[in-house]
């Protein structure tokens, strides 16, 4: 496949954690290619290293060995500032626990990424409102997270992940804290995001959630494996 079609390319990516004197390997040489516009699910048992991998792909964490190219550019050795810039402009995170700032209402939470990407106040406001409308929360913009249901909070998080029009959405078990009906709703929303052309990486351990993706890859004990473990 032509190089420019690949948005994520991992080669022998390794990651350890230090526990006292011990080096605990978490990722033991990950090879993974994701094409631009793909919707890929990553499955694996708890503790297999899924979140660690997602954080590395989302440039939120560093790794110890191997190569990572994002959008055709080697980002293995980016400094903290460049990583932050990349996260700000190209990547949107969705977490299992929503991770909204509790003191801020929905609107301000959605505005936050645009503050760091330097968008002027007026357009920030407009964009945040539009995004909240898109996830069906136009009448909840001044609610703080505690005044929203889990599903609503996750929709705010989706709006927040999308406001800077990223090329990649990283969703780490986005339905893990939701009942199945709400989970389906969130997945429909992510499918819409994918349909709009954004690359979506989804972590889940529920097969019926993975079915929303075009392709599922499996990780076990820090390595990519063929088929479910």
């Amino acid at each position: 496949m032509p190089h420019s079609d690949v948005i994520i390319s991992l080669r022998d990516v390794q990651k350890h954690y230090e526990k006292g004197d011990m080096r605990i390997p978490v990722l033991r040489g990950i090879d993974l290619d994701i094409k631009r516009g793909e919707f890929v699910a990553i499955m694996g048992q708890s503790g297999s290293g899924k979140s660690t991998l997602m954080n590395i792909i989302g440039c939120l964490d560093k790794f110890d060995g191997g190569r990572y190219a994002f959008d055709g550019r080697d980002v293995s050795n980016l400094d903290g500032n460049a990583q932050a810039r990349l996260r700000s402009l190209k990547i949107g995170f969705i977490f299992q626990s929503f991770n909204l700032i509790p003191q801020m209402n929905a609107l301000r939470n959605v505005e936050l990424p645009m503050i760091y990407s330097g968008r002027p106040r007026e357009s920030r406001h407009r964009m945040a409102k539009a995004m909240l409308g898109m996830v069906g929360l136009e009448d909840r913009i001044d609610h703080i997270p505690a005044q929203l249901s889990g599903g609503q909070q996750q929709r705010v998080a989706i709006a927040r992940a999308l406001v800077n029009n990223p090329s990649l959405i990283v969703a780490d078990e986005p339905t893990g804290s939701l009942d199945s009906q709400t989970g389906e709703l969130i997945m429909k929303q992510l499918t819409k995001v994918h349909k709009a052309g954004t690359t979506v990486l989804l972590v889940t351990h529920e097969p019926h959630i993975a079915e929303y993706a075009q392709r599922t890859v499996y990780i076990s004990d820090g390595k990519m494996v063929k088929g479910a473990a």
Binding site: G58, G80, A84, F95, Y116
Partner: protein, 409 residues
């Protein structure tokens, strides 16, 4: 702008904590301001009162101190009218602008009588230049002149207090008479009142009440004394900086004229000013150090609050990083919160310090209004305290590992 709003929101979430920190800085800034203003005001008061003695003054008199080798070879004041004449002849080469003999009553009391009224006042003899040297101004009448001095005219300059005691209030005293040692004196001038509240209040007036004085031609006091001696010279030097040189030169002239059998000493206003500067400076430093400690405590309050805040908001920091905040963004946010606390505290302290010094100035009539320098300084200091106290917590927040931060709850 956005960051300021965010900092404001964050501070509002911890109202009590924020208010306490602000209070700490307020107290610190207010006390630093109070101390520096008061010490400046004190300086001013002391200066303006010393000025009433003449800033260029030098006093020369016989050295009676126990360790003086020529102490008791001869009794008496050791200064006579020929010495006075000698100083006048050589005035300009000695750096003297004006010189006056000062003659005190010997063994008699300065009691002024008018009918059955009397006043026990400080009475002394000087020449026509004395009043100008000590910044005495006539309210009415005239100063005695060299003619009065040469002809030993029984004339006197008195103060308003004495006018009141002898003649009653609202009386024009010029031309009126009084008796001293059964001799009749005529009042030719009345001095304007003098303010020496501060010196009087610390007992530095040496028993001489500035507003209860009688000035007479020195020759008149000499004849009442029945001897032609002079107690000391009051000298005004041409140059303030030459006070010591003139003092020493006069000392030498007198010693030589008395063939080394007597020794002399001198005091200068310049010396007194130096001493008072040293004392007031010391007081100010002690005060400012003490006040700075309260500012330091305020700073520690901010440091403590910001450290707690960073820990509590670890997850928030992780979230902000995950949506694209750089280290600099995070550091700026926390630094701004710290500076906002200290700046609000500083502004309040400034207001309190300013208002209280204005009120104090009204009440005490001391000039205690803080200068713009002090105001600007106080604001700069509070910003500096905020930055100093906020730097480490902000740095810690900025360096936080995003993934670890997101895992905390």
């Amino acid at each position: 702008m956005e960051t300021i709003q965010q900092a404001w929101l964050a501070l509002r979430d911890h109202r009590l904590r924020t208010v306490l920190c602000i209070l700490g800085i307020t107290i610190g800034v207010a006390s630093v301001m109070a101390v520096s203003t008061i010490s400046k005001g004190g300086n001013h008061v002391v200066y303006s009162e010393l000025e009433t003695f003449g800033l260029n003054s030098v006093w020369v008199y016989r050295d009676y101190r126990a360790d003086s080798p020529l102490k008791r070879q001869r009794s008496g004041s050791g200064i006579d009218n020929e010495d006075y004449q000698a100083l006048r002849d050589r005035a300009s080469s000695l750096g003297i602008a004006k010189v006056s003999p000062v003659v005190w009553p010997n063994n008699w009391r300065g009691r002024l009588k008018f009918g059955n009224r009397y006043s026990d006042s400080t009475l002394f003899g000087v020449n026509e230049q004395y009043a100008a040297m000590v910044n005495d101004v006539l309210e009415t009448g005239r100063m005695f002149n060299s003619n009065d001095i040469n002809r030993k005219q029984p004339v006197a300059i008195i103060t308003p207090d004495i006018v009141e005691k002898l003649y009653g209030t609202n009386e024009n005293a010029i031309g009126k008479h009084f008796l001293v040692r059964d001799r009749r004196f005529q009042v030719i001038g009345v001095l304007a009142p003098k303010s020496r509240d501060f010196l009087a209040s610390i007992g530095s007036e040496g028993g001489q009440n500035a507003n209860d004085r009688v000035l007479m031609p020195y020759t008149v006091i000499q004849s009442l004394n029945n001897e032609k001696s002079i107690n000391n010279f009051q000298i005004e030097v041409i140059e303030f900086d030459d006070a010591d040189r003139t003092g020493a030169a006069v000392q030498q002239v007198l010693t030589q004229r008395h063939r080394n059998r007597l020794s002399y000493q001198y005091d200068t206003m310049a010396g007194y000013i130096k001493t008072s500067d040293r004392i007031l400076g010391g007081v100010a430093i002690v005060g400012i150090v003490a006040a700075s400690i309260s500012l330091l405590v305020g700073g520690m309050g901010i440091l403590n609050m910001m450290s707690t805040s960073v820990l509590e908001r670890t997850r928030e920091i992780g979230i902000r990083k995950s949506v694209g905040a750089s280290e600099a963004d995070i550091q700026r946010q926390f630094l701004l919160e710290a500076v906002m606390i200290s700046l609000i505290g500083g502004a309040l302290g400034l207001a309190i310090g300013y208002i209280s010094s204005v009120v104090l100035a009204r009440v005490t009539e001391f000039p205690l209004i803080p200068s713009p320098m002090v105001l600007v300084g106080a604001l700069l200091v509070s910003i500096a305290v905020g930055i100093a106290a906020g730097y480490l917590p902000a740095r810690r927040a900025a360096k936080m590992h995003a993934v670890d931060a997101l895992r905390t709850d």
